[in-house]
């Protein structure tokens, strides 16, 4: 009996080191909000990461300097709260030996994680952390995938200006860090574009009754609305704008309409636009990785739903890291960081270039946002179409909404 056992041990002793030589693994660590209020936004991002990992591994791994690296993801639940983020990132680095890091979802958690990643000198690709502030604190190893928050609503303002230069704009946003950043940026942009903002109003992030807010919009005489926040409040606002027949000619809300589930609002979703980091129908010509269409198909096959921009951002984070490692020909941090700093390329997710100054290292400066609108297709169902900028558009912006809602 024990002879057999010894035989097995011997065999393992021969095989295992051999396997280790043939294949190395790199570990990417991160926390994600499996529970708590950020779960809805964080979950698709995780799917993006996982889709990328599966594809890389199916293709044999990342090639760098003659070695093939399989990718392993290691992640923990941060409960949508910063309390344990530093503890968990330290664990990821020290116990789980993560070679690279992804960010948690949201700017607040990412900044907290960045204190740890910077301390250990680990590269952290951030996705779902749009606020510019994070990248202006003197970091060296952060790389942002998202267009910064203060530019989110710019495309919507451009669209408004082209349709109605005299529009009366209501800027109504959730009083949280990201949305406030976006709204502040929009207010500035509107001013420089000569647009007229007639109402600036913020609401508590957990607001459910928008009655008083909508009454204020109506009494301000605004004909277009930009703002919003995250999925929960944004979808609630959209629904009540419809229920209360607000008669707006144009609505653009952050985040919420980009989540495919937004279509479940039915008629209330129709015509609502969303500034989007990415849309399934964009027509970018990638320098590496799949085309947007291929990505969409792969995602849909695996998860049976369309990818939104959170998913695309997650996927692209992996893709960009992979590309940088391949360019560097090494998995050493300085080499990969150098490759990332030098990156100026287009992927299925769009153009990527990171700022490299001392004051704003890692800030995303290459990526452009698009404006998508929920439109009723010939099949009678709602589809999200890219309507702005015109160069990326695959449908015309419906304006004003008033007639569309009849």
């Amino acid at each position: 009996m024990y002879k057999m056992f010894a035989g097995v041990l011997l065999a393992l002793g021969v095989i295992l080191p051999g396997m280790a030589l043939a294949q190395k693994t790199i570990t990417i660590g991160f926390t994600t909000s499996e529970t708590g209020k950020l779960n809805a936004d964080a979950a698709p991002q995780l799917r993006g990461f996982e889709l990328w990992r599966d594809q890389v591994n199916a293709d044999g791994g990342i090639k760098a300097g003659g070695t093939q690296y399989k990718v392993a993801l290691k992640h923990y639940d941060d409960q949508s709260s910063a309390g344990r983020v530093q503890q968990l990132y330290t664990r990821l680095i020290l116990q789980d030996n993560a070679d690279f890091l992804f960010s948690p979802y949201s700017s607040g958690l990412t900044s907290t994680a960045a204190v740890v990643s910077e301390q250990f000198g680990k590269i952290m690709i951030t996705t779902g952390a749009a606020e510019g502030k994070t990248y202006k604190l003197g970091n060296r190893y952060l790389f942002q995938m998202y267009t910064p928050a203060d530019e989110y609503l710019t495309s919507a303002l451009q669209a408004i200006k082209s349709k109605d230069p005299n529009a009366k704009i209501a800027l109504v946003y959730s009083n949280d860090g990201f949305s406030k950043g976006a709204a502040d940026g929009a207010a500035k942009a509107a001013k420089s574009m000569g647009l007229n903002v007639v109402l600036t109003e913020s609401y508590a992030p957990n607001t459910t009754d928008f009655g008083p807010v909508i009454n204020k919009i109506v009494s301000s005489g605004a004909n277009v609305l930009i703002g919003g926040g995250h999925y929960a409040d944004g979808s609630t606002l959209a629904r009540q704008l419809y229920d209360k027949k607000s008669n707006l000619e144009f609505i653009s809300l952050l985040v919420a309409p980009d989540i495919p589930k937004f279509a479940s609002l039915g008629k209330a979703a129709r015509g609502v636009t969303v500034p989007s980091q990415w849309e399934p129908t964009v027509a970018y010509k990638p320098d590496f990785g799949p085309t947007p269409e291929q990505f969409r198909e792969m995602f849909q096959k695996k998860y049976n739903t369309l990818p939104g921009y959170h998913a695309a951002g997650g996927y692209a984070a992996g893709l960009v890291l992979q590309h940088a490692i391949e360019q560097a020909g090494s998995i050493k941090t300085p080499a990969v960081a150098k490759a990332l700093n030098a990156m100026d390329a287009t992927t299925a997710y769009g153009h990527i270039k990171f700022a490299d100054g001392k004051q704003d290292h890692g800030l995303q400066v290459g990526h452009d946002m698009v404006l998508a609108q929920w439109q009723k297709g010939d099949d009678g169902k709602l589809h999200s179409k890219v309507v702005w900028p015109k160069s990326a558009a695959n449908a015309k912006l419906v304006f004003p909404l008033t007639t569309y809602h009849q």
Binding site: G36, A40, N215, S235
Partner: protein, 291 residues
């Protein structure tokens, strides 16, 4: 401005009626057994998801769904009472707070596992009843929900004041030892009261879910509002809760035209603390000089 204010006042009253109903569940339990029910919010959320399940899986009319939810909520409440609350009734406030908080954690935990924390939406609309004036519209759903809230509150009032069970409940609330001497099985009355409190909270959840999208965490917001409402109306006073709810709705509506709405919670909770300190029996009860 005038129409703006009128519209906000009407909106406030309509939403306030639902706040009131939600708070009745909380205040009833407090009144009868001196327990601050920290699973109140989770119960409201369960009501919301029950509506979602009953309309999507069973295909029930959303407003009819309130009946099974009330019944289910009652049974659930009685069960929770016997399992988690009864043992600590009569011991310190801390124990009952923690017992209900523990159940809250369990519900939220299971709910998160089952439904995640992403929002759900029940598509209800009653356009025939919508009222429009000068560009301001009150959706039909809001009117129906407020009317149902008032009806439910009235039914509950009738139950408490005009039935044998209701009188037993009030007797226990008033003086548990004496009620026992009258031949009232007070243990069961406590369990039943807890069941009714939970059922009403779940029912309020249903009404809220016909108006707004919701997540498993949404109840927490209404729990906090319910605290404010019961303090306005007088802790333990179901009739006061309805009034308190409407007052809260009005505060939200009336302040909105004048200050940025993100300040509303500041006003609400500051008022809450001040009223609690100055009029612990509630603003409305103070009028009658009751302590």
């Amino acid at each position: 401005m005038i129409f703006d204010l009128t519209a906000s006042v009407i909106n406030g009253v309509l939403v306030g009626a639902i706040y009131g109903l939600a708070a009745i569940g909380l205040t009833l339990i407090f009144g009868v057994m001196n327990v601050i029910n920290l699973m109140h919010g989770a119960t409201i959320a369960l009501g919301m998801f029950s509506l979602y399940l009953l309309t999507t899986a069973v295909g029930l009319n959303p407003y009819l769904a309130i009946v099974p939810v009330l019944l289910g909520g009652f049974v659930f409440g009685v069960l929770v009472y016997w399992i988690a609350v009864h043992r600590v009734i009569g011991s310190s406030d801390l124990m009952t707070l923690l017992a209900t908080f523990a159940v809250n954690m369990i519900i939220i935990g299971v709910g998160t596992a089952v439904w995640t924390t992403s929002p759900y939406n029940v598509d209800v609309s009653v356009p025939q009843l919508a009222i429009s004036m000068h560009g301001y519209t009150i959706p039909g759903t809001q009117i129906v929900a407020a009317v149902l809230a008032v009806i439910l509150a009235t039914l509950l009032y009738g139950l408490l004041y005009h039935t044998r069970l209701g009188k037993a409940i009030r007797a226990v609330a008033n003086n548990r030892a004496a009620a026992e001497l009258m031949g009232i099985n007070t243990r069961w009355v406590l369990a039943i009261s807890f069941g009714i409190g939970i059922a009403v909270a779940a029912g309020a959840g249903v009404l809220i879910a016909t108006l707004f999208p919701f997540t498993i965490l949404s109840g927490a917001n209404y729990e906090l509002k319910s605290f404010v409402v019961v303090v306005l109306g007088g802790l333990g006073d179901p009739a006061g809760a309805m009034l308190g709810g409407i007052v809260l709705g009005l505060i939200e509506g009336v302040t909105a035209p004048f200050v940025n709405v993100s300040w509303t919670p500041v006003i609400e909770f500051t008022l809450f603390v001040i009223i609690l300190v100055l009029f612990p029996a509630g603003l409305l009860a103070f009028k009658w000089g009751r302590k």
